[in-house]
């Protein structure tokens, strides 16, 4: 079964700790202080908190069943992991053409341009039992559940 990350928007405080921990998780050192103060290229988070007034929610790749980015990718960098069903980006193959970004209906793929140009997106924290955004949300506003 594919696990999905859901946001319980009524409890998202807008603190953006999910962004912080996502960035650290996807840094080279995985050390929060080095990730922010020492790394080049500067890592970027793959989850984005949207805010309007007092409403806020965290958003990241939905790992769509019928994912437009998979079709749009011209190098085959974007692929679906067989085991987890997650849509992943093979950074070695990615050439930074941004086609995926243009077709993504949720706007959750980012340009990562500090080093080699690549598309940056949620990978459900490959290798972690629970994605770090879920684990570190102080208000349990981000949950990881089997697809409903």
């Amino acid at each position: 079964m594919v696990k999905r990350i859901y946001i319980r928007e009524e409890y998202c405080m807008g603190c953006r700790l999910c962004e912080v921990h996502c960035l650290v998780q996807h840094s080279k050192t995985k050390n929060i202080i080095k990730a922010y103060k020492g790394e080049y290229p500067k890592p970027i988070p793959r989850i984005i908190v949207e805010e309007k007034g007092y409403v806020s929610f965290a958003l990241q790749c939905r790992h769509c069943e019928d994912a437009p980015c998979l079709e749009a990718c011209i190098t085959g960098a974007m692929y679906r992991d067989k085991k987890t069903g997650a849509v992943l980006c093979d950074e070695d193959k990615c050439i930074g053409c941004w086609m995926c970004i243009m077709v993504c209906p949720f706007g959750v793929i980012s340009r990562n341009i500090e080093g080699k140009k690549i598309a940056s997106k949620c990978d459900l924290c490959v290798g972690e039992e629970v994605p770090v955004c879920v684990k570190n949300c102080p208000n349990e506003a981000i949950v990881c559940e089997e697809e409903k």
């Binding site: 319980r8 409890y11 405080m13 953006r16 912080v20 922010y36 007092y54 208000n139």
Partner: protein
Amino acid sequence: MAKRPTPTEFIIERDEGKCIACQVCVRMCSNDAHSYDPETDTVTSDSTKCVGCHFCETICPTGAIIIKRNPSEFKLNANWSAQVIRNITKQAETSGVLLTGMGCDKPYPVYWDHIVLNASQVTNPSIDPLREPMELRTYIGRKPDRIELTAHSPQSTEKNKIPSAMDYRLLTKLSPQLKLETPILFSAMSYGSISLNACISLARAAKEIGTFYNTGEGGLHKDLYEYGAHTIVQVASGRFGVHREYLEAGAAIEIKIGQGAKPGIGGHLPGEKVSEEISQTRMIPVGTDALSPAPHHDIYSIEDLKQLIFALKEATRYSKPVGVKISAVHNVAPIASGIVRAGADFVAIDGLRGGTGAAPTVIRDNVGIPIELAIAAVDNRLREEGIRNQASLIAAGGIRSSSDVIKAIALGADAVYIGTAALVAMGCNLCQRCYTGKCNWGIATQDPYLTKRLNPDIGTRRLVNLLRAWSLEIKEMLGGMGINAIESLRGNREQLRGVGLSDTDLKLLGIKPAGEAW
């Protein structure tokens, strides 16, 4: 000096080596104590704005923030403390009554801390609560003066049959009771003084544990009706939110006469907190101040109170207990006696250290008596008058731990209310700024940006954890005394001994000094 700069009570210490300028603190502080300067990509803090709630310190992902008290120190003086000087300075600038939140913070003696518990040695066996059953179940309500039974006509015709409980029928009509699985209830905290998420957390936790929460004078929000079986609905001097469905929804009704933090004083929810939802729940227009008068304008005597008690009993067809909450004042014992004689099924007594969302500091810190003395006085008085069984006694006001609970029960209480301890479980760090409505923990606020910080799933879990932990500890202490039911400890003051108390204290508490045998 015309107006001095705001005195800095706390110092925000930021470890620049650890600060990653992620701005979580900037986003989260409702007092705007932190700010980000994009020019230099640094976060800086303005300590004068810090109230000491420790939210930023708690949430900072690198532990870069430490909140310290500002050591700004005057010449050492046992009488003119920094706080006295600051209070006078503030009043010289504002000409206003000093306001505060939470309970009395002055160092009056805490009698709990001068009472020790007994345990079994040799002459009676202690009990291991993990192996043997241990009963904390408590019933709140009027107990009959005597029980009348009739022997059933035995169903079987066997001769010499030893009669069992089944063979008897209860003739006495029992009064309605609240059944508590542990002798701890959540104190009255109104929707308005705390957020709906906080109310929901209390209600769900009460349901899960098998106890009760109290609406305070805030009415019952529509989302809370489902927890009615675990709700004590309050009727106070403003009568806000009181209507038929409200009374019927609750498992019990409490008439609030007074509260420990501000005996003799009314309440005031400022209009800016009266949102659409609160307006509907309290039945007052949006944006109007909710003023609870100091007295009930229809209760000037025990006789008046009796009328209200029975009006409420009539309205609910004598189906639920009706109690009265008072603050512990000088005459608490005769007043409680009057209340019991007026027909109350329980009397809740709130002591000097009881909390509040807002009170004049001078009232909070100087009016009323400590709950320990009040429990002893009331229990004594009711026993002397032979009416102790006619009502249960709920003690409140600064109960901080399971040992406070067990000592309160041994002194004579049937159960305790906890308010501040429940708030602490939900996150509160007692910065005492509840009255500002800017509670960073999402508890004492109605600001939708702040209230969502309290996820009621988490709130409920933490409250349930607290009550489970205390209940376990109470069982351990009971077991140590060789007692297997909290009922057997109630009013059993022989299990208590005083340490460092005067003879008068010991006499008033009705306990012996440590070192004296039974």
